[in-house]
């Protein structure tokens, strides 16, 4: 059974149908890439699934439960976490605080334990800090830990966003263009991290334009065009598919 499934998703923006009867399903432990020309509806698909916007029709199920239109915070509790296309750092917070923030179930985020400085909050916070420092170190951001994240470069922001997401230890990780604006060395590094996470059992869905890295990385490619599913399957097969080539090069190519 699939872990994450979208059935017949529809989303209109005014007169424009951004996604049209789109069905995609992802199995547990899979690493799936989503590609398609600009305006194909990739980000809208992500937004509908991750609860940022509500689909006009269709259902989203996560681990068998209907989560259509659930807000992002409740999806995060259910184990689905996403990143954003234009990295959204909490720029007015330090790298450390960015990562620490994502820690789930911190009692110190409720009023009374915070006011009373309860023991359970302090113990929990100690563990949160250790885990956050571990992640920061893994992503080689430790020399920047006390910097405000507005001072980070584009690539470092992508790393930070990934580290922050991992603090939640998600079952499904949805990455919106994790390699955009990142230099080739760092791209390879991020790709390796994603592969490791997937090898450890995390289900990952990636939107990406960087086809070379993407096809190398994923188990399965899903190609969207004009809000519909065009082709899906093995990366090699998908890339040599006539319809995909046509979609990318334009319909008038022949």
């Amino acid at each position: 059974m699939s872990l994450l499934a979208a059935e017949g998703l529809v989303k209109d923006f005014g007169g424009l149908r951004a996604i049209d009867d789109l069905s995609v399903s992802v199995d547990e432990g899979e690493l799936v890439g989503v590609m398609g020309p600009n305006g194909a509806g990739k980000s809208t698909f992500f937004n509908c699934v991750s609860g940022v916007i509500k689909p006009d029709a269709g259902t989203v199920t996560l681990d068998g439960a209907d989560v259509t239109g659930d807000p992002p915070e409740s999806l995060a509790h259910r184990g689905l976490v996403r990143t954003f296309q234009n990295t959204r750092e909490l720029e007015t917070m330090t790298v450390r605080d960015n990562v620490r923030l994502a820690a789930p179930d911190q009692p110190g985020e409720r009023t009374l334990p915070a006011l009373l400085r309860s023991g359970s909050m302090q113990d929990h916070e100690k563990r949160v800090r250790e885990r956050a420092d571990e992640l920061i170190e893994t992503f080689e951001l430790d020399h920047l830990a006390d910097e405000y994240s507005s001072n980070l470069s584009g690539g470092q922001r992508k790393l930070l966003e990934l580290a922050r997401t991992l603090m939640l230890d998600p079952d499904v990780l949805m990455l919106d263009e994790p390699f955009a604006g990142v230099n080739p060395t760092l791209t390879r590094e991020i790709a390796d991290r994603i592969r490791d996470l997937n090898a450890d059992g995390m289900t990952v869905v990636i939107i990406e334009h960087e086809l070379e890295t993407l096809t190398e990385l994923v188990d399965r490619l899903v190609v969207l065009q004009q809000g519909r599913l065009l082709v899906e399957g093995d990366p090699e097969a998908v890339l040599s598919d006539e319809r995909v080539i046509e979609a990318y090069l334009g319909g008038d190519a022949e």
Partner: protein
């Protein structure tokens, strides 16, 4: 582990100890025959000081809302007024106008805080989802509506006269004027310091991290699993409750409330104080408020030595306050003690 990694506990606890001490000493002056002597020249300072510590609770609440969570509340005075009116109407005896019920003052004060918090909850429930500037409009309108209500419903709120005959617990037990003033500033100042301790603990805990994350980017905060609506509502209601406490304390200190005490001028003063000092830093907003109120004090003396009339002088004072605000925004957009990177105004 560096010092940064320990949970900070210094500031909040120092404020808590100092606040409790102030309360105790103030209480001692009030209830024992112990007497304080105050040179006549200092009266005005203590008087402004009392207003400062009351406004201190307002600015701390506003800073929790705006400085930490990014909620723009242009109607803070309404929660101050509701707390004051509720306390006054419940505790007052034989007011000249309006309702006076004559309940014990501690009960009245409690109801005042709850009333302000409830109004905060109602405003949140209807408007907290609005974007910054729209929330600003709603809060501003709320304050104006309540101001007219207080003025026009004479049978209930006493119209322009307000509610008189509010008990003054400290004045009732203190021996003479000097002792009364010293006890008052110590007791209310103690309450303000305890408020400072509470908001410091709140914002230094992981709770404050969530608030600051909401200020930075609400969608990201939601996508890492925080119910931002709950936090925004809480921050708004806590700020409102603190304003209600300040209002209740004001009523019990002043012995009367009237619409004239609760004009938009109050909101403006605490906003300027907060921006001048540096939002999101509790001590900075108190210091900023002290600067702006100190200026008022200086100008009070200034009036007696300048050859202009009171009206002209008042207008001139407004110009000075405006110029200071312009200068701060131009040269130190994060306020005098604020952190530009933390407030995202770094250039």
């Amino acid at each position: 582990m560096s010092a940064l990694d320990r949970l900070p506990s210094g500031d909040g606890d120092r404020a808590l100890i100092a606040g409790t001490l102030c309360l105790l000493v103030g209480g001692l002056f009030a209830v024992t025959p112990l007497q304080a002597q105050l040179p006549g020249a200092l009266y005005v300072f203590v008087e402004v000081g009392i207003t400062f510590v009351i406004f201190g609770m307002l600015v701390l609440g506003l800073d929790l809302q705006y400085g930490h969570t990014g909620l723009v509340n242009f109607g803070h005075v309404v929660f101050f007024a509701v707390g004051a009116y509720a306390t006054a109407m419940l505790a007052a005896q034989d007011s000249f106008a309006g309702i006076s019920l004559g309940y014990p003052w501690p009960l009245a004060l409690l109801v005042g805080v709850i009333a302000a918090a409830l109004l905060g909850l109602v405003v949140s429930a209807t408007s907290i989802r609005l974007r910054d500037d729209f929330l600003a409009i709603v809060t501003l309108a709320t304050a104006e509506i309540f101001h007219s209500v207080f003025v026009n419903f004479e049978g209930i709120f006493g119209g322009n006269v307000g509610i008189l005959g509010v008990p003054r617990p400290i004045a009732a037990v203190a021996g003479d004027t000097d002792t009364r003033m010293i006890a008052t500033i110590l007791v209310i100042g103690g309450l303000t310091l305890i408020t400072l301790a509470a908001v410091t603990r709140l914002t230094e805990a992981p709770y404050g991290r969530v608030l600051r994350a909401i200020r930075a980017d609400e969608l990201v905060t939601r996508s890492v699993g925080k119910s931002t609506i709950v936090y925004k509502t809480q921050a708004f209601v806590y700020g409102a409750a603190l304003a209600g406490l300040a209002g209740g304390v004001f009523a019990l200190y002043n012995g009367a409330v009237a619409p004239g005490f609760f004009t938009i001028q109050v909101t403006v003063t605490i906003w300027i104080g907060m921006l001048l000092g540096g939002a999101a830093n509790h001590r900075a907003v108190l210091a900023g408020l002290a600067v702006i109120m100190g200026l008022r004090l200086v100008s009070r003396f200034g009036l007696s030595v300048t050859p202009v009339s009171g009206d002209v002088f008042a207008a001139f004072r407004l110009v000075v306050v405006g110029l200071i605000l312009v200068a701060v925004i131009r040269f130190r957009p994060a306020g005098i003690w604020g952190d530009p990177q933390e407030l995202g105004v770094d250039r």
